[in-house]
């Protein structure tokens, strides 16, 4: 493949280079193959050892750690979110409780007031009833007083009449008769 050795190739140990410039394609110079292959193998082995012993496990662990951190952070965030929603629920509950409490207090106050009003009303009613009963009693008294007075007057009148007529009548008889008449 490589060019046949040139007649002037003495300037170089290889037939591929003549006077510092390449003869033919340097890629096809068989003289250089062992050197390239040897160094290639050395290089690949070194790179493989570096990668498989140091670099790749390290990067893999870093990536795994980052994955773990991210998962943890997401879990923590999830937890915090849960806590926040719990707090929100508690707040809502407290709010609702307060609202019902307020309603209850208001209702209680209303009921109390109602009761007070009722009581006052009842008292007033009772007072009114007592007053009216008293006045009625007085009226009745006055009426009975008047009736008694009428009877007295009738009795007196009857006695006067009887004395005028000069009839001797017992007082008790007169009053009985007056009673009968007044009742009648």
């Amino acid at each position: 493949m490589a060019t046949e050795s040139t007649e002037n190739g003495a300037s170089s140990a290889t037939s591929c280079v003549q006077d510092g410039s390449a003869v033919g394609m340097p890629q096809l110079c068989l003289d250089w193959f062992p050197n390239q292959i040897f160094w290639l193998v050395v290089t690949l082995v070194v790179i493989y050892l570096i990668l498989s012993k140091i670099a790749l496990p390290r990067i893999a662990s870093v990536l795994a750690e980052r994955q773990g951190t991210i998962t943890n952070d997401i879990a923590a965030a999830e937890e915090l979110k849960l806590k926040a929603s719990e707090a929100e629920a508690a707040y809502e509950k407290a709010l609702a409780d307060a609202r019902t409490e307020a309603l209850r207090i208001a209702a209680e106050a209303k009921a109390e007031m109602q009761a007070e009003v009722d009581l006052a009303m009842k008292k007033a009613d009772a007072e009114i009833a007592a007053k009216s009963a008293e006045s009625e009693a007085r009226i009745a008294e006055i009426r009975t007083g008047a009736l008694e007075a009428v009877r007295e007057v009738a009795r007196d009148a009857a006695r006067e009449v009887v004395s005028v007529l000069d009839i001797d009548v017992e007082d008790s008889a007169i009053s009985a008769a007056v009673d009968v008449r007044v009742k009648g």
Binding site: A2, G24, M25
Partner: protein, 82 residues
Amino acid sequence: MEVEAATLIGDGLKYAGAGLACTGMGGAAVGVGHVVGNYLSGALRNPSAAAGQTATMFIGIAFSEALGIFSFLVALLLMFAV
């Protein structure tokens, strides 16, 4: 004299052959363009499936480009190694 003329003609033919070999690269260009163009039209129709086929596209490009490289290599061999 005749030998010299024959060498000259042979050299000329070598360069002509190298030039002719380079026409093969045009075919590779058409092939690569075809692969990428079809990939693109397919990717625009169904963008969700495009990402999974990028590797396949590169393999196709590599295969069709290799043939162009082969013709280039033949040209180089004609010019420098034969």
